[in-house]
């Protein structure tokens, strides 16, 4: 090896080591530890920020879901359920991402007792191994325990950019994004109006004819959700179907006539799959007309106002889960009829 190559290699190792050491000490995504020696400012880039928080925030109850679950307020749940919770919901989360979130939580928190798990058709409708990576690569290296691939975090531009943001936030006394509980919450903003729903209901969504197929959703459930329940008998799983506005289902039905039949079948199938497990509790909130038919409780065709998250917490805490296949099927059938008879006025 020539002197040049030797010196270039040594120089490269020194520079890379300096960058990695900096990222390890500052740890801008709180991947190794919650910051103690500087005022943290977290990012709302959930797929990068959540792994560190799932590892390092103390909790015994984990909330897993999509943006529909983002507005579960941990302190409210703690008071109501007498637990210490952490909300690990991932916007547009797929079932595989939810599995990754749970497994990371279970590995880092052996004391984990409860999981509140949102069963969202959107999350189940994609192939089981899918993660959300249209906006950028999914950072698997943050979601596993392998040490060797930490190099992707330690020698990466993103944490350096985050470190810069944190530095300037401290200089400018910018106190946003410091409170973990408020980090990913979104406000109720303007409630929906009938006119807006009429407009939105005709805008094509991701519900295409090829999506939301019963077989894919069931396969996804069996791959990403069921094994988790089976392998963690000491953890209580509270599954719920989020109460979308009925108009969401109406839109999906308009775009795909097989949609309603698919989710009706799926709900019965999921009940049967979970029935053997005493640690699994299933709630279907989608036929609750006082919620799903009240436009003022929604900010778009899918997302409800934060008060509904509070209501869900109360409901699941106070009410019994589905207890029979007949009950599960009846509730699914009720939703189907509500969708078919719904009139927007």
């Amino acid at each position: 090896m020539s002197i040049y190559i030797k010196r270039l290699s040594i120089s490269l190792i020194i520079v890379i080591a300096c960058i990695m050491t900096f990222n390890y000490i500052v740890d801008p995504l709180a991947f190794y530890r919650l910051p103690t020696w500087y005022k943290a400012q977290y990012t709302t880039n959930a797929r990068y920020q959540l792994p560190g928080l799932i590892r390092n925030v103390p909790y015994d109850t984990l909330i897993i879901g999509t943006s529909m679950s983002r507005n579960f307020v941990e302190s409210d749940m703690n008071a109501m359920w007498d637990v210490t919770s952490f909300n690990a919901s991932i916007p547009s989360g797929t079932a595989r991402e939810m599995k990754l979130a749970f497994e990371l939580g279970a590995r880092s928190h052996p004391e984990l007792k409860n999981v509140l798990w949102e069963l969202n058709f959107y999350s189940l409708a994609r192939p089981p191994e899918d993660v959300e990576d249209e906006q950028g690569e999914f950072p698997y290296y943050l979601w596993d325990d392998a040490l060797w691939n930490d190099v992707r975090y330690l020698f990466s531009l993103y944490p350096l950019k985050r470190a810069r943001e944190i530095f300037f936030a401290n200089i400018r006394h910018d106190h946003r994004f410091r409170d973990i509980e408020k980090l990913f919450k979104f406000p109720g903003s303007q409630p929906l109006t009938v006119d807006k729903v009429k407009e939105l209901i005709n805008i094509p969504s991701s519900v295409a004819k090829s999506d939301y197929q019963f077989e894919i959703m069931l396969r996804n459930f069996r791959t990403n959700v069921l094994p988790v329940v089976r392998e963690h008998p000491n953890v209580q799983f509270y599954f719920f179907y989020p109460p979308y506005g009925v108009f969401w289902h109406v839109r999906a039905h308009k775009q795909n006539p097989d949609y309603l039949e698919g989710i009706t079948l799926l709900k019965s199938a999921i009940f049967e799959e979970l029935a053997p497990y005493e640690n699994a509790h299933l709630y279907d909130l989608q036929d609750q007309v006082e919620i799903t038919h009240d436009i003022s409780k929604y900010i778009d065709v899918a997302h409800y106002v934060p008060a509904i998250n509070q209501w869900i917490l109360e409901y699941i805490h106070d009410e019994p889960p589905l207890s029979s296949l007949a009950e599960a099927a009846a509730k699914a059938q009720a939703l189907k009829e509500q969708v078919l008879t719904y009139r927007l006025d």
Binding site: S2, Y4, L8, S11, L12, V15, F155, S156, L157
Partner: protein
Amino acid sequence: MIVGICTNEVWTMRELSMLFNSYVFLFQFLPIVFLLFRALHRFRTAAFLMIIFASLYFYAYWNSDLLYVIISSIALNYGLVKLLRARPRKWLLVIGIAVNLGILGYYKYAGFFVETISDLFGLGLNIPNIMLPLAISFFTFQQVAYLVDTYRGETEGHSFLEYVWFIVFFPQLIAGPIVRHQEMFHQFRDKALLRLNMENIEKGLTIFFIGLFKKTVIADTLAHWVNDGFSQSAQLNVVDGWITALAYTFQLYFDFSGYCDMAIGLALLFNIRLPINFDSPYKALNIQQFWQKWHMTLNRFLTHYVYIPLGGSRTGKKRTYLNIMIVFLISGLWHGAGWTFIFWGFLHGAASVICRMWKQLGLKMPRALAWGLTFLFVVCAWVFFRAGSMEEAWNVLSAMARIDQLTFALIWQNKYILFGLFLLLLVVLFARNSIAIMNDHHAGWRRTLFVASLAAVAILHLDQVSEFIYFNF
């Protein structure tokens, strides 16, 4: 960037690409190919075959559906080469050139042609959506040049394997430099080709990392301002307009020259010297000088194979001016199938004609003024090169002309980007260029630490994989 839509699936360049600035290229493809090349140093034919297959794999990684285009093109052209060597007949050369340009025309210009005819005559024709094979402009031009040189009897004795390597060699396959057989084939035959040459490796790594830094750190950072500026061209104020135009001026330079640096560096790892393509073009004092320093191999190609056959400067002043204009219009069209590219070519043609007239009149200009005018012209012309439409280009240029809007507050608002652009101007004007740094080769600690820092920072930026601008052409 979306390169094609297949039924419901949108394939993005990021998914399909093996760019020089990607993990898969840097940490898988390149080390494997380099080690195989070293391992096969006693087996010339095997080494040639390995380079050829590796290059085709590199090419097909983007889109294997269109691999047949380059393979057919090579087979067709080599067949023509054999015929021309046997009997150099002009009509055969003309057919060969026509077929090559026909293929290029079909894939690259059919849509533009049909759209223009349809708009011109209000025919409402369906615009064909033809997927453009990667690098077709480059490998077509290179092969057309080879056909012409074969007709002239300059390519005797070149073997098929040498020819294929000449066309598909992965460092220069995608975006040049456009190489000529005179500078390549003697290297293929050099006994030192397969030997381990540490100096080449050292120089290759140095210039490769400089290029990688130019591309991933500078050009891709500037891309944000450029994309924002052009996408909101109607809302730009005077400072935004200048930021947009200047950012693109530097983005294009650092992107393309960075790519060429990487190509030169990669080729050196395989003991091949590629011609330089840039020689500090923004230092030019007139537009002719600019074209002697910018995309030099394209300029060389157009001079040899278009300008001189048209008569060059031997057929009177007016004809010379016409020839210059034809060359630049072809250059514009080569860069892209659109009126903005043609107009950009026209502007450079007109400027070159004026420059020639100025020189013939024996007029002089202070150096600073000459540089300022040349740079200003190049910046303004780049706006057409980048804009999606003539309207978009006028929007940016109109914004730049609104000097009455200029206030200190507006400048202060944009102080960081303006300062950054000023620093880049100083770099392109006063810093040594990458070729000079490579040639001044030594193993001092400062040098290795400098190169290592560029490499580390560039690799840090790999997360933001993006395509090279010149891949569109």
